[in-house]
């Protein structure tokens, strides 16, 4: 680890903490329908949209109506993406003449982008036309992000409203989240990325002559000399911005944010990391603002920052260690070498920014990568996995992170109530049996899907294990990571696993769907239940949710739930791999 690396990490979190307050206050104003500086432009657009779609923006919805609207909207956009993928050979903006996408892959991809996961079992630049990337995938980055935002706002309203039956209007929240938050930020970030060299065009791919022709062995075993290279390009910047801001993560290119056309400079790398965290960090402030308890928002944000710092420290430390298998090789950091593990990392980012990016992208449910997580040291690779296994609540996805964290808050308050023997209260609302039942449903579905599918995959020699490149504990990590990423709606991959098979396309598709909706529905049920409750005045027995003690309890509950649930699986995968590496075995 170096001082330079730590200074960059400190700078990054300082920027996030500085921006969180104005962004959070702005989002609160948007959803409370107060005046914002974008109103003169966006209010007429909003009114036009409601008139065209026949939506009454004043109509309020119960939690069940809200949830059904989420499902109906998601189903409609899923079908649209599936159809575009299957028919892309007949549609315009396909200069490379790609055929229609194979049905299992189209199924997996449509669910992936609908659920804000952006798991990619395909190589985008050799599979998807420009139209599919723009109309089928980039639009989903907006929609799925806005759906997450809408659901989080519904939860906040559930906390802040008194004896109400409704949580707001899904269509209004969806529209305002897209028009006021995601769209303006995306335009600004796209232009900033273009200034750094991210491409934005509709040209067919170029062919470049190699300075040094390469001899390669083809799939038929014959040795051939390659003299040219295809340069893939397209409308990248516009997709890149929302990929980060919507915590989607689906790359325009296969190598994602490691590709020089997606993330060309250290500055673009910093901008992309800021874009991932800015809305989830702002949401904690929005929570405080809309519930009338700004200190509670800061307490939640503090818990997120502490968990982020722990992950970043472990990952950066693990990646900076010399590889124990390289005997007699100087692996210390110096002016001429980065030191530590540079396999699978871009030289322009180095170890600090690769470790930071991996932590940020898995804390938030983004899934964009600027380095190969599969090439991380065992404990370094465990950090991204643990971040997702904690439930994507350390900042988390846009909206999804906050509502996931709030379920943990409900659980923490419940445990605190049990400890002092009083009915638990959260910001004046009594937490009762139904709320805890729904919170437990939310928390139990997650490991059930991840561990269930992983277990099934590892007992199928051909279908499950046949896709592995590495075996032993590293192979288990690859499968566990895939289902963790899918269920947590993260989308990053450990790579090394060929997921473009019928089994993995289908099972990961199902895992993504259940990981999104089967967790969001109990969360909305809690919101509906909280909205209908009276506010109980604070008393001496009320556990305050604005203090450092609350932050410590919240962090403890998150870690204990994650550790108890997933420690056995982790001990068989990255922890075992780490111990075997120390004794000289590699996989």
């Amino acid at each position: 680890m170096s001082l330079n690396g730590w200074l960059q990490i400190v700078c990054f979190i300082a920027i996030i903490l500085l921006l969180a307050n104005p962004v959070g206050r702005y989002m609160a104003a948007v959803f409370e329908r107060r005046k914002t500086f974008l109103d003169p432009v966006l209010v007429p657009c909003e009114r036009l949209l409601y008139r065209l779609t026949g939506i009454n923006p004043e109509q309020e919805m119960r939690w069940t109506e809200y949830a059904i609207c989420v499902l109906v909207f998601s189903a409609a956009t899923l079908v649209l993406t599936y159809v575009i993928e299957r028919l892309q050979q007949f549609l315009p903006l396909n200069p490379q003449h790609f055929p229609g996408v194979e049905p299992t892959l189209a199924f997996n991809t449509a669910i992936s982008f609908t659920t804000n996961t952006n798991w990619q079992s395909y190589v985008p630049e050799t599979t998807m036309s420009y139209l599919t990337q723009m109309l089928g995938l980039a639009t989903h980055n907006f929609w799925s992000g806005a759906v997450g935002i809408a659901m989080a706002i519904a939860f906040i309203r559930g906390i802040s409203r008194r004896e109400a039956k409704t949580l707001g209007n899904f269509w209004v929240d969806l529209t305002r989240g897209t028009l006021w938050i995601l769209l303006p930020l995306s335009i600004v970030l796209s232009l900033a990325l273009v200034s750094q060299g991210v491409v934005q065009n509709f040209r067919p791919y170029d062919t470049a002559k190699l300075v040094q022709p390469q001899k390669v062995t083809g799939t038929d075993g014959k040795l051939t000399t390659v003299t040219t290279q295809t340069i893939a390009q397209g409308p990248v910047a516009s997709q890149e911005a929302i990929k980060m801001l919507g915590t989607n993560g689906g790359g325009f290119f296969n190598t994602n944010s490691a590709h020089p056309f997606e993330n060309p400079t250290p500055l673009s790398n910093l901008l992309e990391m800021i874009a991932i965290f800015i809305i989830p960090a702002g949401f904690a402030i929005t929570l405080g603002k809309m519930t009338g308890s700004p200190r509670h928002g800061w307490a939640v944000l503090s818990a997120m920052v502490v968990l982020w710092l722990a992950g970043t420290t472990v990952c950066y430390w693990a990646e900076s260690q010399p590889n124990p298998l390289f005997h007699g090789v100087n692996q210390h950091i110096s002016a001429t070498q980065a030191g530590g593990n540079m396999e699978g990392k871009e030289v322009r980012f180095g170890i600090a920014n690769s470790s930071l990016f991996a932590t940020v992208t898995t804390d938030a449910s983004c899934g964009a990568v600027n380095a190969a997580h599969d090439s991380f040291m065992p404990l370094g690779g465990m950090v991204p996995m643990v971040n997702i296994l904690l439930g994507e609540v350390v900042f988390g996805g846009v909206g999804a992170g906050l509502y996931g964290m709030l379920v943990f808050v409900v659980l923490s308050v419940f445990i605190a109530g049990l400890m002092v023997g009083r009915t638990p209260e959260y910001l004046g609302k009594k937490i009762e049996a139904f709320d805890v039942q729904m919170a437990m449903l939310y928390l139990l579905i997650f490991p059930f899907i991840i561990l269930g599918f992983t277990a099934v995959s590892v007992v199928m020699p051909n279908t499950g294990l046949g896709s592995l490149t590495n075996h032993g504990p590293h192979g288990l990590s690859e499968i566990l990571y895939a289902f963790t990423s899918a269920t947590g709606n993260n989308g990053s991959a450990f790579a090394g696993l060929n997921a473009n098979t019928h089994w993995y396309n289908y099972s990961l598709g199902v895992a993504m769907f259940f990981g999104r909706f089967m967790m969001a529905i109990p969360m909305l049920a809690i919101a509906g239940s909280l909205a209908g409750k009276k506010i109980v005045p604070e008393s001496a027995g009320t556990f305050p949710v604005t203090t450092p003690l609350f932050t410590i309890l919240l962090i403890s509950v998150i870690l204990i739930v994650g550790a108890l649930t997933f420690f056995p699986a982790l001990s068989l995968a990255p922890i075992l791999e780490h111990l075997l590496l120390r004794s000289g075995a590699a996989f």
Partner: protein, 31 residues
């Protein structure tokens, strides 16, 4: 997997999710 299986799978999953909403609401109603 054909388009038919993909469609049937997606329809079943969304129906299951809708049923899940209904079940959670009934659980609340019973309390």
């Amino acid at each position: 997997m054909s388009d038919l299986i993909a469609t049937v799978s997606a329809v079943l999953m969304f129906l299951l999710a809708a049923l899940y909403v209904h079940s959670c609401d009934r659980l609340k109603g019973e309390r």
